[in-house]
């Protein structure tokens, strides 16, 4: 059985971020959290991650810019986008930039886990091919 994926959480909302980290850790995942796009990029440069959960609406470097930067500099991890609202236009752009899944807040923990596993499976499948 494959190891559980290493997860990086990126969300500026502190309480949300800490809660999700706590709950995923309780399920056995290895989780790190970053409070901004810039912090996320720094973290990605330090360690390898399998799945990134990325909030779209952040002050400073916003979600789209962060997504673009991540896919450019650290294309390996799969990115799941977290959003309170997904408009069709935004969704198109987000998919085009390379995100694989959406999570609409508020999202039940089971849905988060399910999508993380799907994304991780995809990464493994991708790596097996190469």
């Amino acid at each position: 059985m494959a190891a559980l994926p290493k997860i990086l959480l990126v969300d500026d909302e502190e309480r949300f971020r800490n809660n999700l980290k706590k709950m995923l850790a309780a399920e056995g995942f290895e989780v790190a959290a970053a409070g901004s796009g810039a912090a996320a990029l720094e973290e990605l440069a330090l360690k390898p991650y399998d799945v990134i959960l990325l909030d779209m609406r952040m002050p400073g470097m916003d979600g789209l810019a962060t997504l673009a930067a991540i896919k450019e500099r650290h294309p390996d991890p799969e990115v799941i986008v977290l959003t309170g609202h997904a408009s069709v236009d935004a969704a198109r752009e987000i998919i085009r930039l390379g995100a694989v899944e959406f999570l609409l807040k508020p999202c039940p923990l089971e849905e988060v886990i399910a999508k993380i596993e799907t994304a991780y499976d995809r990464k493994l499948a991708r790596q097996e091919k190469s």
Partner: protein, 316 residues
Amino acid sequence: MEKKSHTSPLLNLFHDLGGNLAVYGTALGLVILAVPLGLRAGPMYALAAGLLAALSLVTVGRVLRQKDTALRQKELSDEQLLQSQKLASIGELSAGIAHEINNPLAIIRQEAEWLLQLYKKDSPPDAQETQSGLAEIVNQVDRAREITHNLLNFARRSQPVVQGVELNRIILDMTSLVEKAAQQKNINLVKRLAPDLPLIESDAPLLRQVILNLLNNAIQATGKGGTITVVSEAADHRQVMVQVNDTGVGIPKEHLSQIFDPFFTTKPQGKGTGLGLSICHGIIERLGGKIIVTSVEGQGSSFVIRLPQALDRRGR
């Protein structure tokens, strides 16, 4: 009675006489001039003059009708533009609201899920953790309430109530409110108010909101020992101008275009709803004016408001 003022004085003349009358009047004048001249010069010339008169009648009539149609089309498209702008901004607003409300909802769900987990385990859950979770739920509900209440205010489509407004009085009243906050930061609050500033037709409480908001932002942006300057003066085209300038941190260039967007905020989570400047912008537009911002990061910002002295009675 609406006073329409057109750029062309000729068109004004036509409107005053009643369009058709002027057309025929002009053509009639031409006929009166042309025919006797033509008759004196010969029947061919008379015919030519008559044709010329008829042509001018048709041409001028057509030009006037086209101008009228064009004007009506422009009014219609202005209205449509306004409506589509409103709809676009409502769309943006909805997206903004959804995001804003879903954040507290997301946290509430997390807290509740976590509490459910705690209660599933065999040993009794930690009282402090339980209390903290429940308290956070209450906290987030209050936050969501703020958002919806602010939203209702923002969306309130109230016609401005037009009265004669002494702008300087408003500026003085609002600056006196923020004086203490400014003093605490050793900020110099300078007022340069034109003594002969004309009374303007506007909505005083709405203007108070705007001025207070700008002053508050200026104080927050300015460090110790800085300066905030408020200027009022009469401006050309029968307008007045109010400026709120600060020597504060300034606004980064990439944010300037979004600064009046609803829910746009650079403040950390929970501090500021991001509605303040968008409300100000909405108010000034509704009052027939314009608000623009210039800023240099590290040097300061300047908000300039222009308002018409008189309002078209529809409050535009």
